[in-house]
Symmetry: C2
Subunit: 307 residues, 2 copies
């Protein structure tokens, strides 16, 4: 176990994406800048998907053009097809995420392709991204369960991860898109994955749909994975998975990791007001537990003294 | 690690207690009966505190009089002083919970007594309860932090637990009243407590205020404690601790424990409609993540297949 952990902020992509109310580009950039100032060194800023399917991400190019590149932050984008990769490269993105689902049903809904077609398409996308000089993070969605298929056999996750390793992915993201994962399952799968992909860095992308998000963070750390996708205030979800609300919150996850003795470099007190800003803009509470307590000055947990 | 875990339902006491809207006695009994039918074998049904301070519990005697004693369920009550113990015994309660806080400030707010006065009063209450032939569960509140004092030194918890062991408590409850506990701290304290109190059964009473409730359940199980206070739908909190909302939810905790391979005997699908009933009565969402998914039939987690 190392003494640091990495938070990768995905709020501006996975957190904003399912919201029906369009978040103005200015506000998106205000939040992204605030997250950078709070110490987040990696931020997923947008998604290059067709605006017909995800209207919230229609301003991807403008967001990228206006990112402050002087903050020492790595900004990433997500794409689901070759067109998205082309757009990302043209927008000046240097790091891209390309995903596939371990659940065939979810993959069909998300990308409108079968598993076999998806694998062929993935190889093409990956080659294209490399042609464009992009660093590629390869994601596996629905690793721990799918609302349509129920249990997803670990073999289906391992096969995709092995493909990513063969392609030479820079990083592999293991997503519990539906929040169905449980700690025992997380530990077992991460152990198997480590054997399958060698020393390629792994990132956990967890949702708190069943309340086990932070329990699964602890399980991941115990399995040796210390990088996590999080979203300010626990925003997020997948527009194609019913009930898949809530990435694990940046504030809550950082506090947990600090309590485990792992430094993240993230200043919770600077993230929380951004969550309040989004809560006010959207007119509804976010799912994170901590941001309101932090802003109310009511969250002196004594974690430093305790650990 | 055993292959079973015990859930002690505290919703009708800790869950109902902070609600300003009076829950009619008929509805309280409907929920208690439903919980018994769902497999909860221990239910904290009410609290014998002064109705001036907790008006929601003003019907304690009527609730106890109308409990269905034929269901094989142990019903318990909570008291904070001798008067409460007298009332509980007169109401036919056989199991009582008597608590003290590890935080002096919280103890003063909760019982309006200093630590020294509280210890003397506790000895008297305990003796009185034994005189009345009651089984006593002894609770330590604020074991992992206090909003007023911040960090609570483990020594303060151990001292109270040692007093309980000396008195011969039947069971000791370790409460994270503020939800400030974190997994590393939970494991460390439970290890120290086990040495201090010998083989007296311990129960964890966790709140999800900081989102770490279920992570702390896993830590407790790993430390050898497999009994948990839970509340349907994650209702609850302490009326004297600001922001201390949400006991860990019965449904979410049971599903987590089942995923860890521990059987609870609780049928989640029969608990969830009771949470929906309370959500509808109160006109606000409860904090549990799972109950709505269960009622919507959208929570096939495949946990059985996976474990």
């Amino acid at each position: 176990m190392t003494d640091t952990a990495t938070l990768i902020e995905v709020g501006p992509r996975d957190g904003f994406q399912p919201e029906a109310k369009f978040i103005p580009t200015d506000l998106k950039l205000e939040i992204i800048e605030g997250l950078a100032d709070a110490g987040l060194k990696r931020i997923q800023a947008t998604s290059f998907v067709h605006p017909k399917y995800v209207p919230q991400m229609a301003d991807a190019e403008e967001v990228c053009a206006r990112l402050d590149r002087g903050k020492g932050v790595t900004y990433t984008g997500l794409a689901l097809n070759g067109k998205g990769v082309e757009r990302a490269a043209a927008a000046g993105v240097t790091h891209i995420e390309l995903s596939m689902s371990a659940s065939d049903t979810h993959q069909r809904k998300n990308a409108r392709r079968s598993r076999t077609e998806s694998i062929a398409a993935y190889r093409d996308m990956f080659a294209l991204a490399r042609d464009k000089g992009l660093s590629v993070r390869s994601g596996v969605m629905c690793c721990f369960g799918c609302v349509d298929e129920g249990h997803v056999p670990p073999r289906q996750v391992l096969e995709i991860a092995e493909l990513y390793a063969e392609l030479g992915a820079d990083e592999i993201t293991i997503s519990d898109s539906t929040g169905m994962g449980h700690p025992k399952q997380v530990k077992a799968l991460l152990g198997d994955l480590r054997k399958a992909v060698g020393d390629i860095p792994m990132v956990m992308h967890l949702h708190d749909t069943h309340g086990r998000g932070l329990a699964n963070v602890v399980a991941s750390v115990e399995a040796g994975v210390t990088a996590f996708d999080t979203a300010l205030g626990g925003m997020g979800g997948c527009p194609f998975i019913e009930g898949a609300t809530g990435n694990i919150p940046t504030e809550d996850t950082a506090e947990l990791l600090h309590g485990l003795g792992l430094e993240t470099g993230v200043d919770l007190h600077r993230v929380a007001p951004l969550s309040v800003r989004m809560e006010e803009f959207l007119g509804k509470p976010l799912s994170g537990k901590l941001y309101r307590l932090l802003v109310a000055g009511n969250a002196d947990t004594g974690l430093r003294a305790a650990s």
